[in-house]
Amino acid sequence: MDQRSELAEVERSPHVELRDVRIAYKKPSESRYAIVADDVGLRIQQGEFVTIVGPSGCGKTSLLLAIDGLLRPIRGEILIRGRPVTRPGRDRAMVFQEFALLPWRTVFGNVAFGMELQGGRPSPERVERYINLVGLNGFERHHPHQLSGGMRQRVGLARALAVNPEILLMDEPFGALDAQTREVMAGELLRIWQVERKTVVFVTHDIDEAIFLADRVIVMSAAPGRVIAEIHVALPRPRRPEQRASPEFAEYRSCLHRLLFQEGRGEADREKAG
């Protein structure tokens, strides 16, 4: 009975909640707002792994920025544990799509950067641990311009993981990785997520990745982005690479394909009509 009421409590207050969120940018030339995402409502539970897929430009990055507190929605609200988000917080860390590495710092310095801002001098061992985690040991003294795209991306990943946030906001964090590294990193991320019970919001263009990682896949429409479907992924955990070949996985895959493809065609039709 006690347990059940606790469960009910958790259900009532999601970790992250978006209510009717509308995100818009002001065009520099005009005074009007250009809406990039609209009517977005999401309830993300503590410890849930949510992936977001949608056509390019539908406002996925903008949504993550808003959850992180870097961008204020012009309508609706974003709540974390019931409190409105007004600014970035230590409970959240973002992995940026464009890496955002400090070019004058080494790999080591970049990974240490977040920790440094949030609590003084980080211990070298701790920094080293996250560098190892993303497989960049041996490259500590390299500068970003000496790294490949995929290596740069992993520096950004290590930097976010290193501050040990409750909520990880990941914007196509594996986008620049080759297929093998991608799978290894996905497995690693799931391991970390399972051990540390983080809440993860993960944007990706890779349908398989979205299914493999997620408890729930959010499908968004073309701009202005709206949530057009939420798919609960009931594949057993811990996930294994073999599951990608299973018939259930194929079903999820074709379902997502259909949703995204229909969405794309709808958009094309609308353009033709306009």
């Binding site: 464009e98 955002a100 400090l102 070019p103 950067f113 041996g138 003294r141 970003p144």
Partner: protein, 268 residues
Amino acid sequence: MSLVDGARYRLAARAPVRQRSPAATTALMAMVVLLAAWQLAARWGLVKHGYLPAPSAVAVAGVAMARDGELWQNAQISLLEFAMGLALSIGVGIPLGLLMGWFRTVRELFEPLVMVLNAMPRIALIPMIVVWLGIGSISKIAVVFIGGVIPLIVNGMAGVRDADGSLVRLARSFCASDLQLFLKILLPGSVPSLLAGLRLAIGHAVIGVVLAEMYASVRGMGYLLQSYGTNYEAAQLFFLVIVVSAAGYLATACVQLVESRFQSWRQP
């Protein structure tokens, strides 16, 4: 593995230098040919001695000036004025430029003045400064300062204002305070711009100190130039011009060396 990679990168970084060395040889050869032609032209009397002294005559004049201490005494004075003026312009220009980039009110306060000074030929201020500060070292330092401070302010301001927006966002995402944002993103991000400003400042400062000494002074390299000029002593004059140019070039080259080190982390 990392060692191998490191070696490869070091090699790659060195390659352009190696490519430059044939060009340096060419330049050296061109200079030798030019000097020889000049020497011969002077020796054969193709140009009047008073207009274009032979390189050998310039060298002889130079050795004489160095021997009797005239060169060093005056160079010392110019160097001191140059160094103090430049130090002052660095001490004022860099902080002020950075603050102008960071705070709008500071920018709005100083920008008109800086823009006017930037647009006008600052040499035109020399007579005014001499009226105010006399013909001693102070007025030379002031001229150097005004020449050097403007590019430092302008570039310091630009360095902060052109900061990479995605890095600013990154710092904010990790809850950086304003001070942290400044120290860890804006300041290091401005270094290339500041170094470019410093290079310009040195150029302006060299011109400033020589001109100010030529206009109103009884000491310094500018004064020497002026007095040998009025006496039509071309060999000494030539020698002084070469010394001053070499000093200016050397100072600029030092900054360029530092710049190229910082250039390495700039992404293509």
